[in-house]
């Protein structure tokens, strides 16, 4: 989906640490990966499921979803906001919608942490192999 709205926050005027200090620290700022996300799964004949964006861009624009909330939980967010608007001022009746949205964010966070840990272990593995092969990386 080619977005017309830039969803990244504007860059800070001063960036002292653009890259992580250590060679084995994943790049948490950009989320840059050192290997293919499916690397290591092909040998088992498996593949990771791709994440599905449910809300379309038109829906998000029409619901005025803030750019930083246009993530994979945006459809839950839209549902929640819609419910709040319908049932105002008795917004406590939107508890199920709120729960769905927060649970989605929780799952999203778990995936992000797992991604980080996978990246960290892959970086350690890469370094290990480089040391073993005398500075050359034969893994790629």
């Amino acid at each position: 989906m080619g977005g017309t709205v830039s969803s990244r926050p504007p860059a800070s005027p001063v960036i002292i640490l653009e890259k992580p200090l250590s060679k084995t620290t994943p790049d948490w700022k950009t989320g840059e990966l050192c290997a293919d996300p499916n690397y290591g799964f092909e040998e088992q004949g498996k593949r990771r499921k791709e994440r599905v964006m449910v809300a379309t861009e038109a829906e998000m624009i029409s619901a005025k979803v803030p750019p930083k909330l246009r993530d994979f939980c945006a459809h839950h967010y839209i549902n929640f906001e819609k419910c709040k608007k319908d049932k105002f001022p008795f917004v406590y009746r939107c508890h199920p919608e709120k729960h769905n949205y927060e649970h989605c964010q929780y799952e999203d966070y778990l995936i992000r942490m797992k991604d980080y840990e996978r990246e960290r272990r892959l970086l350690h593995r890469k370094l290990r192999k480089e040391k073993k092969n005398g500075g050359r990386n034969h893994d790629e």
């Binding site: 989906m1 964006m53 945006a74």
Partner: protein, 182 residues
Amino acid sequence: MPLPMLIARRVGPRALVQHARAISSSAVNSAGYWNKDWRPADDPPATEEAKRAAAKKYGMIPEDYETYKNDGTGYGDYPKLPIVSAESRDPHALYDFPELKRNFGEPLHVDADMYGEDRWDRSKRLRIPYHVMLTWFLGVIGITATLFMLSEYVRVNPTRRMPKPLYNDGKKHYTFELEDVE
């Protein structure tokens, strides 16, 4: 009966001293009754004669009498006095107004309201001098501000997670659920 004399009567043994002083200070007896009458002249005295008259008006000797610079922001013919904070004056002296440590007819500094006993004691000997205070203040504030500004731009990432995937960041995102390759 003037106020200082009333006060002098009430304090008893001091009465004679106070009474004598109140009479001997012939300073501002005929200055006026309303606040507009107490207003200083617009310009400093130009001639020696006028200067002597102004000094007399303010209860000073002409040698001590000195005015502020007449640059448009001055105080007219009001005398320029040395700053003596009330807190630094002799606590055991007999004053006409002991609460203010003031005597009747005594010329007042133009910022006298700033140097009362409840305000700034300018000539106080401080336990910590001003430049040490300033250094400590700037040091603490500076270090705090520096840490705050650094924390704006330097991330330590204690939560260990990748950035939030957004729908149009141009990358493919995957869950950790597996499916078979067809």
